[in-house]
Point group: C2
Chain length 228, copies 2
Protein backbone atom coordinates (compact mmCIF):
# COMPACT_ATOMS: atom_id res chain seq x y z
CA UNK A 1 0.00 0.00 0.00
CA UNK A 2 2.99 2.28 0.37
CA UNK A 3 2.97 2.76 -3.42
CA UNK A 4 -0.15 4.94 -3.17
CA UNK A 5 0.53 8.52 -4.17
CA UNK A 6 -0.55 11.07 -1.60
CA UNK A 7 -2.83 13.84 -2.89
CA UNK A 8 -3.72 16.66 -0.51
CA UNK A 9 -6.83 18.73 -1.15
CA UNK A 10 -7.00 22.16 0.51
CA UNK A 11 -10.56 23.49 0.46
CA UNK A 12 -13.10 25.79 2.06
CA UNK A 13 -16.87 25.24 1.85
CA UNK A 14 -17.40 28.90 0.93
CA UNK A 15 -15.72 28.14 -2.42
CA UNK A 16 -17.96 26.53 -5.07
CA UNK A 17 -15.00 25.53 -7.25
CA UNK A 18 -13.66 23.66 -4.19
CA UNK A 19 -16.88 21.62 -4.11
CA UNK A 20 -16.27 20.48 -7.68
CA UNK A 21 -12.67 19.51 -6.93
CA UNK A 22 -13.69 17.75 -3.70
CA UNK A 23 -16.39 15.59 -5.34
CA UNK A 24 -14.17 14.68 -8.28
CA UNK A 25 -11.31 13.59 -6.01
CA UNK A 26 -13.70 11.66 -3.73
CA UNK A 27 -14.94 9.82 -6.85
CA UNK A 28 -11.38 9.15 -8.07
CA UNK A 29 -10.23 7.97 -4.65
CA UNK A 30 -11.71 4.58 -5.66
CA UNK A 31 -10.34 4.69 -9.19
CA UNK A 32 -6.82 6.06 -8.92
CA UNK A 33 -4.15 4.55 -6.72
CA UNK A 34 -4.05 7.55 -4.38
CA UNK A 35 -4.33 8.36 -0.72
CA UNK A 36 -6.54 11.45 -0.58
CA UNK A 37 -5.79 13.74 2.34
CA UNK A 38 -8.59 16.23 3.00
CA UNK A 39 -7.23 19.53 4.34
CA UNK A 40 -10.06 21.87 5.41
CA UNK A 41 -8.56 25.38 5.53
CA UNK A 42 -9.67 29.04 5.66
CA UNK A 43 -9.92 30.75 2.27
CA UNK A 44 -10.12 34.20 3.85
CA UNK A 45 -6.69 33.61 5.38
CA UNK A 46 -5.26 32.44 2.06
CA UNK A 47 -6.57 35.54 0.29
CA UNK A 48 -5.09 37.80 2.95
CA UNK A 49 -1.81 35.89 3.17
CA UNK A 50 -1.26 35.81 -0.58
CA UNK A 51 -2.49 39.36 -1.30
CA UNK A 52 -5.07 37.99 -3.74
CA UNK A 53 -8.63 39.25 -4.08
CA UNK A 54 -11.74 37.08 -4.32
CA UNK A 55 -12.86 36.73 -7.97
CA UNK A 56 -16.40 37.80 -7.07
CA UNK A 57 -15.19 41.33 -6.30
CA UNK A 58 -14.48 42.13 -9.97
CA UNK A 59 -17.99 42.69 -11.42
CA UNK A 60 -17.26 41.07 -14.81
CA UNK A 61 -15.70 38.06 -13.08
CA UNK A 62 -18.69 37.71 -10.81
CA UNK A 63 -21.06 37.88 -13.81
CA UNK A 64 -18.97 35.26 -15.55
CA UNK A 65 -19.13 32.96 -12.51
CA UNK A 66 -22.93 33.10 -12.58
CA UNK A 67 -22.76 31.52 -16.05
CA UNK A 68 -19.68 29.33 -15.62
CA UNK A 69 -20.81 27.57 -12.43
CA UNK A 70 -24.16 26.29 -13.80
CA UNK A 71 -22.33 24.81 -16.82
CA UNK A 72 -19.75 23.17 -14.54
CA UNK A 73 -22.50 21.98 -12.20
CA UNK A 74 -24.14 20.15 -15.10
CA UNK A 75 -20.84 18.79 -16.43
CA UNK A 76 -19.68 17.52 -13.03
CA UNK A 77 -23.21 16.45 -11.98
CA UNK A 78 -23.04 18.41 -8.74
CA UNK A 79 -26.21 20.33 -7.73
CA UNK A 80 -24.55 23.72 -7.36
CA UNK A 81 -26.78 26.82 -7.18
CA UNK A 82 -25.92 30.41 -6.33
CA UNK A 83 -27.16 31.68 -2.96
CA UNK A 84 -29.93 34.29 -3.39
CA UNK A 85 -27.65 36.93 -1.84
CA UNK A 86 -24.12 35.79 -2.73
CA UNK A 87 -22.33 38.82 -1.28
CA UNK A 88 -24.05 38.39 2.06
CA UNK A 89 -23.39 34.62 2.12
CA UNK A 90 -19.82 34.66 0.84
CA UNK A 91 -18.28 37.93 1.99
CA UNK A 92 -20.33 39.11 4.97
CA UNK A 93 -21.09 35.83 6.69
CA UNK A 94 -18.12 33.85 5.42
CA UNK A 95 -16.96 30.44 6.54
CA UNK A 96 -14.77 30.85 9.62
CA UNK A 97 -17.10 29.02 12.02
CA UNK A 98 -17.84 26.31 9.42
CA UNK A 99 -14.14 25.66 8.79
CA UNK A 100 -13.41 25.57 12.54
CA UNK A 101 -16.23 23.08 12.91
CA UNK A 102 -14.79 20.88 10.13
CA UNK A 103 -11.36 21.15 11.72
CA UNK A 104 -12.91 19.86 14.95
CA UNK A 105 -14.61 17.00 13.07
CA UNK A 106 -11.27 16.02 11.57
CA UNK A 107 -9.44 16.34 14.90
CA UNK A 108 -11.94 14.10 16.67
CA UNK A 109 -12.37 11.47 13.97
CA UNK A 110 -10.36 8.28 14.28
CA UNK A 111 -9.46 5.85 11.51
CA UNK A 112 -10.26 7.80 8.35
CA UNK A 113 -12.14 10.92 7.36
CA UNK A 114 -15.57 9.64 6.38
CA UNK A 115 -17.26 12.04 8.82
CA UNK A 116 -15.18 14.95 7.61
CA UNK A 117 -16.11 14.12 4.02
CA UNK A 118 -19.82 13.88 4.77
CA UNK A 119 -20.08 16.96 6.97
CA UNK A 120 -18.10 18.99 4.39
CA UNK A 121 -20.52 17.85 1.68
CA UNK A 122 -23.56 18.77 3.81
CA UNK A 123 -22.15 22.24 4.45
CA UNK A 124 -21.55 22.80 0.74
CA UNK A 125 -25.04 21.54 0.06
CA UNK A 126 -26.43 24.13 2.50
CA UNK A 127 -24.61 27.22 1.18
CA UNK A 128 -24.09 26.24 -2.48
CA UNK A 129 -27.27 24.31 -3.22
CA UNK A 130 -30.03 25.05 -0.71
CA UNK A 131 -29.39 28.74 0.02
CA UNK A 132 -29.04 28.08 3.76
CA UNK A 133 -26.86 29.54 6.49
CA UNK A 134 -23.58 27.86 7.51
CA UNK A 135 -22.54 30.21 10.31
CA UNK A 136 -24.95 29.54 13.20
CA UNK A 137 -24.41 26.64 15.66
CA UNK A 138 -27.86 25.32 14.69
CA UNK A 139 -26.80 25.26 11.02
CA UNK A 140 -23.59 23.37 11.77
CA UNK A 141 -25.56 21.02 13.96
CA UNK A 142 -28.12 20.28 11.22
CA UNK A 143 -25.38 19.58 8.69
CA UNK A 144 -23.56 17.25 11.08
CA UNK A 145 -26.74 15.34 11.93
CA UNK A 146 -27.57 14.91 8.25
CA UNK A 147 -24.08 13.45 7.91
CA UNK A 148 -25.00 10.88 10.56
CA UNK A 149 -23.47 12.35 13.73
CA UNK A 150 -25.29 12.05 17.03
CA UNK A 151 -26.58 14.87 19.25
CA UNK A 152 -23.78 14.27 21.73
CA UNK A 153 -21.15 14.24 18.95
CA UNK A 154 -22.45 17.58 17.75
CA UNK A 155 -22.49 19.13 21.21
CA UNK A 156 -18.89 18.08 21.75
CA UNK A 157 -17.84 19.33 18.32
CA UNK A 158 -19.42 22.75 18.83
CA UNK A 159 -17.48 23.15 22.08
CA UNK A 160 -14.27 21.89 20.56
CA UNK A 161 -14.73 24.29 17.58
CA UNK A 162 -14.18 27.35 19.73
CA UNK A 163 -11.12 25.96 21.53
CA UNK A 164 -7.71 27.52 21.08
CA UNK A 165 -6.40 24.16 19.86
CA UNK A 166 -8.84 24.06 16.93
CA UNK A 167 -8.39 27.73 16.04
CA UNK A 168 -4.65 27.13 15.91
CA UNK A 169 -5.03 23.96 13.87
CA UNK A 170 -7.10 25.78 11.25
CA UNK A 171 -4.50 28.55 11.15
CA UNK A 172 -1.74 26.04 10.71
CA UNK A 173 -3.51 24.18 7.87
CA UNK A 174 -4.15 27.53 6.17
CA UNK A 175 -0.46 28.37 6.57
CA UNK A 176 0.45 24.98 5.06
CA UNK A 177 -1.64 25.91 2.00
CA UNK A 178 0.13 29.28 1.74
CA UNK A 179 3.49 27.55 2.09
CA UNK A 180 2.57 25.35 -0.90
CA UNK A 181 1.89 28.58 -2.83
CA UNK A 182 -1.90 28.87 -2.49
CA UNK A 183 -3.64 32.04 -3.72
CA UNK A 184 -7.14 30.54 -3.72
CA UNK A 185 -8.94 27.19 -3.42
CA UNK A 186 -9.19 24.38 -4.29
CA UNK A 187 -5.49 23.60 -4.20
CA UNK A 188 -4.42 20.02 -4.89
CA UNK A 189 -0.91 19.00 -3.96
CA UNK A 190 0.29 15.76 -5.57
CA UNK A 191 3.29 14.24 -3.85
CA UNK A 192 5.35 12.58 -6.56
CA UNK A 193 9.00 11.81 -7.18
CA UNK A 194 10.66 15.16 -7.65
CA UNK A 195 8.56 16.88 -5.02
CA UNK A 196 5.07 18.29 -4.60
CA UNK A 197 3.14 19.38 -7.73
CA UNK A 198 0.42 21.96 -7.21
CA UNK A 199 -2.81 22.22 -9.18
CA UNK A 200 -5.12 25.15 -8.55
CA UNK A 201 -8.82 25.07 -9.40
CA UNK A 202 -11.03 22.33 -10.76
CA UNK A 203 -9.86 22.39 -14.38
CA UNK A 204 -6.48 20.63 -14.30
CA UNK A 205 -7.56 17.03 -13.66
CA UNK A 206 -6.14 15.73 -16.92
CA UNK A 207 -2.74 17.26 -16.10
CA UNK A 208 -3.01 15.96 -12.54
CA UNK A 209 -3.71 12.45 -13.84
CA UNK A 210 -0.57 12.66 -16.03
CA UNK A 211 1.40 13.84 -13.02
CA UNK A 212 0.49 10.84 -10.85
CA UNK A 213 0.62 8.31 -13.70
CA UNK A 214 -3.14 7.77 -13.91
CA UNK A 215 -5.82 8.38 -16.56
CA UNK A 216 -8.55 11.04 -16.55
CA UNK A 217 -11.89 9.44 -17.37
CA UNK A 218 -14.05 12.55 -17.08
CA UNK A 219 -15.98 13.85 -14.08
CA UNK A 220 -17.87 10.56 -13.53
CA UNK A 221 -15.13 7.89 -13.63
CA UNK A 222 -17.35 5.01 -12.46
CA UNK A 223 -19.79 5.63 -15.31
CA UNK A 224 -17.00 5.98 -17.87
CA UNK A 225 -15.31 2.82 -16.61
CA UNK A 226 -18.62 0.92 -16.92
CA UNK A 227 -18.79 1.92 -20.59
CA UNK A 228 -15.31 0.61 -21.45
Amino acid sequence: MSSKKVVELFYDVVSPYSWLGFEVLCRYRNVWNIELKLRPAFLGGVMQGSGNKPPGLVPNKFQYMTKDLPLLSQYFEIPLKFPSDPFEAIFKKGSLSAMRFLTAVQEREKGGDKQLEQVSRELWRRIWSEDKDITEPSSLSEAAKKAGLSDSDVKELLQLSSSKEIKNKLKSTTQDALDFGAFGFPLCVCHVDGGPQMFFGSDRFELMANCIGEKWLGPQPEKSAAKL
Copy 2:
Protein backbone atom coordinates in the same frame (compact mmCIF):
# COMPACT_ATOMS: atom_id res chain seq x y z
CA MET B 1 -22.65 27.21 -45.03
CA SER B 2 -24.91 29.50 -43.02
CA SER B 3 -25.28 26.73 -40.43
CA LYS B 4 -21.73 27.35 -39.22
CA LYS B 5 -21.66 28.63 -35.65
CA VAL B 6 -19.68 31.81 -35.17
CA VAL B 7 -16.98 31.69 -32.48
CA GLU B 8 -15.14 34.93 -31.67
CA LEU B 9 -11.74 34.78 -30.02
CA PHE B 10 -10.56 37.90 -28.21
CA TYR B 11 -6.82 37.74 -27.55
CA ASP B 12 -3.62 39.65 -26.92
CA VAL B 13 -0.15 38.30 -27.72
CA VAL B 14 1.12 39.37 -24.29
CA SER B 15 -1.10 36.65 -22.80
CA PRO B 16 0.34 33.11 -22.85
CA TYR B 17 -3.02 31.50 -22.05
CA SER B 18 -4.36 33.30 -25.14
CA TRP B 19 -1.75 31.55 -27.25
CA LEU B 20 -3.05 28.17 -26.05
CA GLY B 21 -6.65 29.12 -26.83
CA PHE B 22 -5.68 30.54 -30.21
CA GLU B 23 -3.81 27.42 -31.39
CA VAL B 24 -6.54 25.08 -30.16
CA LEU B 25 -9.26 27.02 -31.97
CA CYS B 26 -7.14 27.27 -35.14
CA ARG B 27 -6.77 23.46 -35.01
CA TYR B 28 -10.51 22.97 -34.41
CA ARG B 29 -11.47 25.39 -37.16
CA ASN B 30 -10.96 22.43 -39.54
CA VAL B 31 -12.72 19.92 -37.27
CA TRP B 32 -15.75 21.72 -35.85
CA ASN B 33 -18.42 23.33 -38.01
CA ILE B 34 -17.51 26.84 -36.89
CA GLU B 35 -16.57 30.17 -38.35
CA LEU B 36 -13.68 31.41 -36.20
CA LYS B 37 -13.49 35.19 -35.92
CA LEU B 38 -10.13 36.39 -34.64
CA ARG B 39 -10.49 39.56 -32.55
CA PRO B 40 -7.07 41.00 -31.62
CA ALA B 41 -7.65 43.34 -28.65
CA PHE B 42 -5.69 45.12 -25.91
CA LEU B 43 -5.46 43.21 -22.62
CA GLY B 44 -4.26 46.31 -20.74
CA GLY B 45 -7.50 48.05 -21.67
CA VAL B 46 -9.57 45.07 -20.53
CA MET B 47 -7.79 44.99 -17.18
CA GLN B 48 -8.33 48.70 -16.68
CA GLY B 49 -11.93 48.65 -17.92
CA SER B 50 -12.95 45.68 -15.76
CA GLY B 51 -11.01 46.68 -12.66
CA ASN B 52 -9.16 43.38 -12.70
CA LYS B 53 -5.47 42.91 -11.93
CA PRO B 54 -3.04 40.81 -13.95
CA PRO B 55 -2.51 37.41 -12.29
CA GLY B 56 1.27 37.85 -12.39
CA LEU B 57 1.07 40.65 -9.79
CA VAL B 58 0.11 38.26 -6.97
CA PRO B 59 3.44 36.54 -6.13
CA ASN B 60 1.92 33.09 -5.41
CA LYS B 61 -0.09 33.29 -8.66
CA PHE B 62 3.00 34.21 -10.61
CA GLN B 63 4.94 31.32 -9.05
CA TYR B 64 2.08 28.98 -9.94
CA MET B 65 2.06 30.22 -13.54
CA THR B 66 5.75 29.35 -13.87
CA LYS B 67 4.78 25.72 -13.16
CA ASP B 68 1.34 25.63 -14.80
CA LEU B 69 2.41 27.01 -18.18
CA PRO B 70 5.16 24.42 -18.85
CA LEU B 71 2.66 21.62 -18.10
CA LEU B 72 0.07 23.21 -20.40
CA SER B 73 2.72 23.83 -23.06
CA GLN B 74 3.49 20.11 -23.09
CA TYR B 75 -0.16 19.06 -23.03
CA PHE B 76 -1.15 21.44 -25.85
CA GLU B 77 2.12 20.89 -27.75
CA ILE B 78 2.84 24.59 -28.00
CA PRO B 79 6.46 25.69 -27.42
CA LEU B 80 5.74 28.19 -24.67
CA LYS B 81 8.65 29.49 -22.57
CA PHE B 82 8.78 32.28 -20.02
CA PRO B 83 10.70 35.39 -21.09
CA SER B 84 13.92 35.79 -19.09
CA ASP B 85 12.56 39.00 -17.54
CA PRO B 86 8.78 38.48 -17.49
CA PHE B 87 7.96 41.71 -15.65
CA GLU B 88 9.94 43.80 -18.12
CA ALA B 89 8.41 41.98 -21.12
CA ILE B 90 4.81 41.82 -19.91
CA PHE B 91 4.26 44.85 -17.71
CA LYS B 92 6.89 47.41 -18.71
CA LYS B 93 7.05 46.90 -22.46
CA GLY B 94 3.58 45.48 -22.94
CA SER B 95 1.76 44.86 -26.20
CA LEU B 96 0.14 48.10 -27.35
CA SER B 97 2.25 48.52 -30.50
CA ALA B 98 1.98 44.80 -31.31
CA MET B 99 -1.81 44.80 -31.00
CA ARG B 100 -2.06 47.97 -33.12
CA PHE B 101 0.11 46.27 -35.72
CA LEU B 102 -2.15 43.18 -35.73
CA THR B 103 -5.20 45.41 -35.99
CA ALA B 104 -3.62 46.99 -39.08
CA VAL B 105 -2.88 43.53 -40.54
CA GLN B 106 -6.53 42.58 -40.06
CA GLU B 107 -7.81 45.91 -41.46
CA ARG B 108 -5.72 45.57 -44.61
CA GLU B 109 -6.25 41.86 -45.28
CA LYS B 110 -8.92 40.89 -47.79
CA GLY B 111 -10.71 37.55 -48.04
CA GLY B 112 -9.87 35.84 -44.75
CA ASP B 113 -7.43 36.25 -41.91
CA LYS B 114 -4.55 33.96 -42.82
CA GLN B 115 -2.05 36.82 -42.48
CA LEU B 116 -3.52 37.87 -39.15
CA GLU B 117 -3.26 34.29 -37.89
CA GLN B 118 0.34 33.91 -39.00
CA VAL B 119 1.59 37.28 -37.77
CA SER B 120 -0.14 36.73 -34.41
CA ARG B 121 1.59 33.35 -34.09
CA GLU B 122 4.99 34.86 -34.96
CA LEU B 123 4.54 37.55 -32.31
CA TRP B 124 3.63 34.98 -29.66
CA ARG B 125 6.63 32.93 -30.74
CA ARG B 126 8.87 35.97 -30.23
CA ILE B 127 7.70 36.97 -26.74
CA TRP B 128 6.51 33.60 -25.37
CA SER B 129 9.02 31.22 -26.91
CA GLU B 130 12.16 33.00 -28.11
CA ASP B 131 12.51 35.71 -25.45
CA LYS B 132 12.50 38.48 -28.09
CA ASP B 133 11.08 41.99 -28.18
CA ILE B 134 7.65 42.70 -29.70
CA THR B 135 7.55 46.47 -29.27
CA GLU B 136 10.08 47.90 -31.76
CA PRO B 137 9.16 48.47 -35.44
CA SER B 138 12.05 46.17 -36.41
CA SER B 139 10.56 43.39 -34.23
CA LEU B 140 7.11 43.75 -35.77
CA SER B 141 8.71 43.81 -39.19
CA GLU B 142 10.66 40.59 -38.54
CA ALA B 143 7.53 38.80 -37.31
CA ALA B 144 5.53 39.93 -40.35
CA LYS B 145 8.25 38.87 -42.78
CA LYS B 146 8.48 35.44 -41.13
CA ALA B 147 4.72 35.21 -41.69
CA GLY B 148 5.31 35.78 -45.40
CA LEU B 149 4.58 39.48 -45.81
CA SER B 150 6.70 41.58 -48.18
CA ASP B 151 8.89 44.59 -47.33
CA SER B 152 6.34 46.93 -48.88
CA ASP B 153 3.46 45.30 -46.97
CA VAL B 154 5.37 45.80 -43.74
CA LYS B 155 6.20 49.43 -44.47
CA GLU B 156 2.56 50.16 -45.18
CA LEU B 157 1.41 48.29 -42.05
CA LEU B 158 3.82 50.16 -39.77
CA GLN B 159 2.46 53.46 -41.06
CA LEU B 160 -1.15 52.30 -40.82
CA SER B 161 -0.50 51.07 -37.23
CA SER B 162 -0.03 54.57 -35.91
CA SER B 163 -3.06 56.03 -37.67
CA LYS B 164 -6.02 57.30 -35.72
CA GLU B 165 -8.25 54.83 -37.58
CA ILE B 166 -6.29 51.81 -36.28
CA LYS B 167 -5.94 53.17 -32.76
CA ASN B 168 -9.71 53.60 -32.67
CA LYS B 169 -10.36 50.18 -34.14
CA LEU B 170 -8.26 48.53 -31.42
CA LYS B 171 -10.10 50.55 -28.78
CA SER B 172 -13.42 49.50 -30.22
CA THR B 173 -12.51 45.78 -30.32
CA THR B 174 -11.31 46.05 -26.72
CA GLN B 175 -14.61 47.70 -25.80
CA ASP B 176 -16.50 44.87 -27.56
CA ALA B 177 -14.63 42.38 -25.34
CA LEU B 178 -15.56 44.39 -22.23
CA ASP B 179 -19.18 44.54 -23.40
CA PHE B 180 -19.18 40.73 -23.58
CA GLY B 181 -17.99 40.74 -19.96
CA ALA B 182 -14.23 40.26 -20.40
CA PHE B 183 -11.95 40.56 -17.36
CA GLY B 184 -8.95 38.91 -19.01
CA PHE B 185 -7.96 36.95 -22.12
CA PRO B 186 -8.50 34.68 -23.94
CA LEU B 187 -12.25 35.20 -24.15
CA CYS B 188 -14.22 32.98 -26.53
CA VAL B 189 -17.73 34.03 -27.46
CA CYS B 190 -19.86 31.29 -29.01
CA HIS B 191 -22.90 32.58 -30.84
CA VAL B 192 -25.62 29.98 -30.37
CA ASP B 193 -29.40 29.95 -30.17
CA GLY B 194 -30.25 31.74 -26.98
CA GLY B 195 -27.48 34.30 -27.35
CA PRO B 196 -23.72 34.56 -26.89
CA GLN B 197 -22.02 32.14 -24.47
CA MET B 198 -18.71 33.29 -23.02
CA PHE B 199 -15.78 31.07 -22.09
CA PHE B 200 -12.77 32.59 -20.36
CA GLY B 201 -9.34 30.98 -20.41
CA SER B 202 -8.04 27.90 -22.13
CA ASP B 203 -9.62 25.27 -19.87
CA ARG B 204 -13.28 25.18 -20.91
CA PHE B 205 -13.02 23.53 -24.34
CA GLU B 206 -15.12 20.51 -23.37
CA LEU B 207 -17.92 22.80 -22.17
CA MET B 208 -17.51 24.95 -25.29
CA ALA B 209 -17.83 21.85 -27.48
CA ASN B 210 -21.10 20.93 -25.67
CA CYS B 211 -22.33 24.47 -26.17
CA ILE B 212 -21.89 24.41 -29.95
CA GLY B 213 -22.97 20.78 -30.36
CA GLU B 214 -19.50 19.44 -31.16
CA LYS B 215 -17.11 16.99 -29.50
CA TRP B 216 -13.85 17.77 -27.69
CA LEU B 217 -11.12 15.45 -28.94
CA GLY B 218 -8.25 16.82 -26.87
CA PRO B 219 -5.73 19.50 -27.76
CA GLN B 220 -4.61 17.76 -30.99
CA PRO B 221 -7.90 16.90 -32.74
CA GLU B 222 -6.29 15.81 -36.03
CA LYS B 223 -4.14 13.24 -34.22
CA SER B 224 -7.09 11.99 -32.12
CA ALA B 225 -9.29 11.75 -35.23
CA ALA B 226 -6.59 9.71 -37.01
CA LYS B 227 -6.64 7.21 -34.12
CA LEU B 228 -10.44 6.64 -34.30
